[in-house]
């Protein structure tokens, strides 16, 4: 029975190695946060609903517009306490800085500007992989709705 015992010993060692590799990789706080921005044009000019927005249809319809169209999507890996800037149609930009993580929630500092003029500063704590909507800036006869999501590996 020496061979099976050796096999078992080796398998246990390789399992421990796997766990060690996973624990090393799972260490959070050092890996950047994946921030994803979707810019959506909400308007009442038609009844068109962009098929790419289907997964968040119910959430968008909270705002009672008739039409929703995805204008652009952008994703960046942003290190903690650093910030990334996303261009938003209409000469606007959105600066996002992940602040910290607590109870599986990520605090994001968000600043929306139009040219050099600040429009909004906010800090939002959202679930890992969760998102929130920032809307209001007028654009092409409707309003922009920006979906902001974050994922900390």
């Amino acid at each position: 029975m020496t061979l099976p015992r050796n096999l078992l010993k080796r398998s246990l060692l390789s399992s421990l190695l796997l766990l060690a590799v996973y624990a090393e990789g799972a260490e959070t706080g050092s890996r950047p946060v994946q921030v994803k921005i979707g810019t959506i044009l909400a308007s009442n000019e038609s009844d068109q609903f962009d098929a790419r927005l289907k997964p968040m249809e119910r959430q968008l319809k909270v705002m009672k517009y008739r039409s929703y169209r995805l204008l652009k999507e952008d994703s960046q890996a942003v290190p903690w306490n650093d910030n990334a800037t996303f261009e938003i149609p209409g000469g606007r930009s959105l600066a996002i800085s992940p602040q910290d993580t607590k109870d599986k929630q990520i605090a994001l500092k968000v600043r929306l500007t139009e040219g050099t003029k600040p429009l909004l500063d906010t800090t939002v704590r959202l679930q890992n992989q969760g998102y929130f909507l920032l809307g209001g800036p007028p654009h092409e006869g409707g309003a922009l709705v920006i979906s902001i999501s974050a994922f900390a590996p």
């Binding site: 994803k36 704590r125 809307g135």
Partner: protein, 180 residues
Amino acid sequence: MSNCETTRETIGAWLDGELAAAQAEATGRHLEVCAACREERHRLERLHSTMRLALEANGSEIQFEPFWQGVQRRIARKRNWYDELGDRIRGTFNAPRLAWAIPAVIVIVLAGLSINSFFPNAKIGIQSDNLATVESIDAYGRNVALLHEGETNTTVIWLYQPQESENDSSTEPSQTKPSF
């Protein structure tokens, strides 16, 4: 070439001629070059020889009949269900199977835990409670609305811009304000 560990595990079977041809050849080649394993081979050969001599000298005195009757009794005996179950369990959880099963289970569990790392956009593992908490907000004098909609777990920050700052000439007031 087989190493010392493997050779010592198989040397007994090699002496008895029970190994497959390739394995027997590898063991033989290793024994030619490894003095330690050769010594192990000689030790086993001496043991075999001693046992054979002892058996030849005293074999006729050994009473095999009671032993054989015991074996027959055990073969004939109807086994209890729990003995059968015990054997099945022992067969299922024997060492070679466990050797594969342990890392396989660990890989599956880790894959489950890591799936979001590989597929950040996948729906798997998304929190059912998606409500975000707004810790601070400054709209630089503009009106702002904050909506938490429980049914769809949606958080919306709505920025009302004064008409004079709207840079899109086509915008009508009624179209930029949602009715929530």
